[in-house]
Amino acid sequence: MKPALTIDITPLLESQWTGIPVFTRRLVQALDPHLRLHFCQGPNGVPEEAVRQAIRIGTGTYLRDAIHTEVESVQQEARRPAIDPAIPLLYPSVKPSPGAVAREASTIHDISTLVMPDTHVPENVAFHLDPLRDQMASDEVVFCCSEATQEALCAYVPWVRPKTRVMYQYVDWPEGFEAMDRNQPAIRLGRYAVVIGTVEPRKNLRLLLRALEEPSVAAADLHFVVIGARGWMADQALAQLSPQAQARISFTGFISEFAKYRLLRHAEFLVYPSVYEGFGIPAVEAMSLGKPVLASLSSSFPEVIGPAGLFFDPFSIDGFLAALEEMANPALQAELAAHAVPQASRFNAAVMAAPVLEWLGVPG
């Protein structure tokens, strides 16, 4: 019989799955072949079928409805199944109340709320930091999403180092995307690079906006497609650009996974100017489609992107322009692209599951 593990699926209650909800979904799918999974939301059990159905659908709306239907009255709430304290419990993110079971583990995605609180709203800082110390103290294992996160965390909390394990996530495009893409008309954007980021300070899109006014970028025929919401801050920043520069950049807003897949698949490369990331899954997404990445020399990027990337100082416009010019060289692009798929395939379901299985003493 497979060993049992309870996973807190609270992140899956989000309506739109990006970031941590997607990480949680992948974690469930990576561990499913090896373990007998139970699910919970805080101290309460969640029906397994509801979670699996939500994963099939890809949204938390169904899951919320399923849970609420179960607990429409006080009596029903009282009858909700509690988690089994004998089964280890894994939190894919913050652990709000430690000590629910004997063996617990949680996940640290990054420590940006600790080291760059200026890029978060105070409520988010409090949500992540208030329980952090108790969370780690009560954990048997603290999973970190990259070596960079592990090192950063241990610089601030040295005693946690023996408990830490790196847990890399992976990319899993739906199987049908490739065929669906072939059946679509060609994308008519000319030469373009996809950009991940918003105008918020941590995402550092401002660097690209500054670059658009530079003669070397203005003279090139490369267009930049930003995957992400435009927002009023972007409007303000764009208003300061010349009409020619404005015409070189477009914002997709929130798009489907398939639209993202298509944009990445037909792009020349990905630009990832973010100042700080705990892992950087968009880089792996691009690499999985054979695209090189132009990324900040920062935090987890060198570790995750490796030989498939070209790096620049995220605060240097000259450094960014030089890297952009280098990336325009087809020979270099091809050289980097050759490393992209092998680098992306280093991150797979087995790699994600391995540290959890090791914690539970299960042969991988």
Binding site: L114, V115, M116, D313, P314, F315
Partner: protein, 358 residues
Amino acid sequence: MSGGSVLLVSVPAVHLSGLDLPGSLYPWRCLRDAVLPPDLRLALLLVMQSAEAQQTEIRFVARPEIFTHGAARDWLDAQSGGAQDHLALTDGNTLRLIPGLRNHMFFFPRGMTSREGALNRLVRLVPEAFAGLASQVNGTLTFRLGSRWIRPPMLPLGFAVTPVGEPAQYTPFVWLPGNHGYAGVLSAKEAMEGVPLPKPPHYVPLTLGALSDHPFVVELARQVREVVLDPAKGPLLIGLPALDRDDAATKDQVEAVLEAFSRSGIALPRLSSWAVRFVAGMPDPAALAGARLTLHAHVPFWHFGRDIFDAVGEVTLTGSGSLSGPASLFSTWLGRAVPVRRIRPQLGLLPVTTGQVP
């Protein structure tokens, strides 16, 4: 921090968002020409002057937290000119460390209660990070971690000459019971520069931290009453506290002081008086010649240059809390023993605290 080498310095990144930096490492001129809060600017001036005196080269690093390990860290090491030390100027929201370097802290908004609260919260969250500091500049942070008392070594830095800022503005004391906002407006309307003082004043600079020390405020309010009723006992010069918001004007600073007086329980006369006057900004050292300077433990003493401490006739450190740490630091900093006067509580009315739900 050793002299004659390179020192990496970081400032709270929130102040960099509007700057076009040349790179992750940037020169002093980027900050020198930027709009910065006065306390941060003073702290930077102090660091720059001290580094110059020690022939230490300063390189500012925008986001030290992104260079923790691997290729990014190798790059920083290659660019940092062999720096072994990193000084983090902090506003209490975060403490940015560079692993492997000697990290030093300069908490510059001393006396700003919200900033001190944020720092204390951070200490409770990651005490080990503070325990590993090589020094704290002009600070007295002390905390207990398990059975150990931790106090990062103090590093006293001071100005020889008080930096010249905006000319100080003087306003009269105005007391309108129950209407401190309007009293602040009336007082600020009378603002003047360089009002002559009939004799050396008793100067009491304030911060929000000092104003939250109830026994101290009671005693100060008592002195205000004495001077207002008998101007011959003056002049009493009250330094207005910096407020924790960007749009604060002199009237708001006066109001904050009057509000604190109103909570003291000391009955003040409904009068306006220049014998008690408020001062916004740093008074001219000449105006303080022979003065009596009372410094609360929550006042950043390093804002004053040695010229002011040489000019005044008497300096006293005060407050109702523990004064051993501040007294030790201040005496070391000043190079001579500083008289300490601890104010005993239970003067005036007891403060009342209510919950949010009656």
